[in-house]
Symmetry: C2
Subunit: 398 residues, 2 copies
């Protein structure tokens, strides 16, 4: 790796970035890709250490088989790239500001000119076709400006390399888990009938950013989700200013975040005396979670977790339509999943030590909901390890 | 509008949603679009009142010339749609969960089947080609599944209809502005040498969500940006745990948010005695802002604001490469701009009463930065009105 001019606070060791680049290059070779355009901000950060809220304009990282990656983005963001990436300043290039949200020109036309300048006009170029930050228009503009190139779908090519976490990454996730625990502790303390929901959110967002000890909190890729009562049927409603009510369950879907690494964690709080339907759902769900954790072993498959979970739920008459988990780690809004494996009956991916998942069997019924989840690590031997250490139950406050 | 089953807390009046639908339909007709697929979450919310953090999976709103819109998304999110949109429940449709992040099937294949079922397989279908939430793959999958349809680029078609705010929307933005003022007041109080940056962020995020009076705060579409010293050259760096230092300027880019409506607001705090370069830049910038506000009148053009700003800056030897503003209002991550007008010398859009902008002439030099900005409303007569009421200056704390 080249020397760099600024004193940079890289999150990981040089070895770690070399590991990531080697994995990416090997995957490129297998896919027959000569140059890879990475536009997923998490993939960009994973490879180069770039970090900034600039993904609302077009940007990317070019990965080559035999030269350092190139960060490419808006001119004004090159200052942020120079300050965060491990590559030399000569590997950071910007495009003029009048490409931004223009109706006349597209940033991908600038990128195409760069590639042509590198003699890559006829390259086999990998692009992440299914990504928030590679729009339909970006694809069209790039393809039109590089008529001799072959564009190859490299969706999730880098994401798959991120699946098995290094020890350095797991250490970050353990710090994030401490923050998740702190958030849940704060919820248990503060949620009471009559307390407006936004007030509780304000306090837990404060907790999340204050972090734990010297480990400051980063912004999570999803805001806290905490619907109550009938609204808990809807997994993705955000907060408002109405109070928590006696006789209602609220699920809390949150994640501590340490330097972009997440450990999501969900618990449900019932205020008052839960009806039998909640008690029996809780029992079945906890039994399913524990069966799933047992099944979450290296050598088993993703579907084995889903099937282990499903059995006790089915016995309790609960049919879940949705997947029950996804890989986690480094991420940027709008999602904290890695978008590779889905824990569901049709996914036969073999589990390997170092993989990390949010085991997330949320129950969203027609007029109520219940979430009890765990962020887990697949270990060398034995069942999955849970990142957070809090009782696996629905909490009841009388 | 149809009756609905749930007691819904719609943000706006029925008249307001009728206005929006009529504007959208007229724009569709001008563009020769028979059915419009809206995937931008802000456009979806503007038309239907849908609100939820579900945009990390494919979803959309179909707008027809002569029938109520249809909300389409993941099955588990139909519960959120039923609870938030003004249309009847029969206008909410979901797709099976095994379409989510699948390598075998794409949600757009489900949407295509819905359109075919409506007899629209040969329709002139508008799609938002340049949008975070309409990926290159989504476009390909939709086009492949609807070979007889004509896909028309409807990028920003709805965004342009959002430009002139109604009185109801302006009332929301005034509430957001009060929250912005509260955040800036909190910054002035708390930023001191030696205070770790994340601690200040924790407090202002709390302030933002607590809101002002009965007006609870929503999440802003961009997290607070607050780089210091040399890092202030980089506009989009987020926080860390290092302390504020004497002798450094930090700019704060924040936005209060009330029910998804934003009023961004930026101020700079210098700790210690600012060097002459800051004083002269501040003077030129404030002069430029005031000239720009004078030029921001109905009947003038966007470029007139940019040109008015540029003159005093150029006299001070400061050349800005970037645009100096964009329209604001309703938005979702990752951006709080509307992505239509850009306030820059080449944009000749005529300003109209009710338009709202973030007038944002940030200075990002090679090793320092300065931001003093205003969120503004174009009025019937006279110069622009500023939403926030705080001194237009660099704040100096000795």
């Amino acid at each position: 790796m080249r020397q760099h001019r600024f004193q940079k606070d890289l999150p990981f060791s040089e070895t770690e970035y070399e590991r990531r680049l080697a994995l990416t290059r090997a995957a490129m070779e297998r896919a027959g890709i000569e140059v890879l355009l990475v536009t997923d901000p998490a993939n960009m950060a994973w490879i180069t250490a770039y970090d900034g809220w600039s993904f609302y304009v077009h940007q990317g990282v070019l990965v080559f088989p035999d030269a350092d990656p190139v960060w490419w983005g808006r001119n004004q963001d090159t200052n942020g790239a120079i300050r965060t990436v491990w590559m030399g300043d000569d590997r950071v290039i910007g495009y003029a500001d009048n490409y931004v949200q223009s109706t006349e020109r597209h940033p991908m036309e600038d990128l195409a000119q760069r590639l042509i300048g590198m003699g890559l006009e006829g390259a086999r170029l990998g692009v992440e076709m299914e990504n928030y930050y590679f729009s339909a228009k970006a694809y069209q503009a790039l393809a039109a400006a590089l008529p001799d190139a072959t564009l190859i779908d490299a969706t999730a090519l880098v994401n798959w390399q991120r699946g098995i976490k290094s020890a350095e990454e797991i250490a970050f996730m353990r710090k994030a888990a401490k923050i998740s625990e702190k958030i849940v502790d704060g919820l248990l303390e503060r949620v009471e009938p009559g307390v407006p929901k936004h007030q509780v959110v304000a306090e837990i967002q404060r907790d999340a950013i204050l972090g734990v000890g010297d480990d400051w909190g980063d912004y999570a890729s999803i805001v806290p989700l905490l619907p109550s009562g009938s609204d808990a049927a809807a997994p993705h409603l955000t907060w408002d200013g109405r109070p928590f009510n006696k006789g209602e369950a609220t699920f809390f879907e949150i994640a501590g975040c340490y330097r972009r690494y997440h450990t999501p964690f969900c618990r449900t709080i019932f205020l008052g005396e839960p009806p039998e339907i909640f008690r029996s759902a809780e029992a079945a769900l906890v039994e399913g979670l524990e069966a799933g954790l047992e099944a979450a072993r290296a050598g088993n498959r993703a579907c084995d977790i889903a099937d282990a979970l499903a059995a006790p739920l089915e016995r309790a008459g609960i049919e879940r339509g949705a997947r029950c988990g996804y890989p986690i780690g480094l991420s940027y809004p709008p999602d904290w999943g890695e978008r590779t494996i889905s824990i569901r009956s049709e996914d036969e991916t073999v589990l390997q030590p170092g993989m990390t998942f949010h085991f997330m069997p949320g129950l969203w019924m027609s007029d109520w909901g219940l979430e009890i989840t765990e962020s887990i690590l697949i270990t060398e031997n034995g069942p999955a390890e849970c990142f957070c250490d809090r009782p696996r139950q629905m909490f009841v406050k009388p």
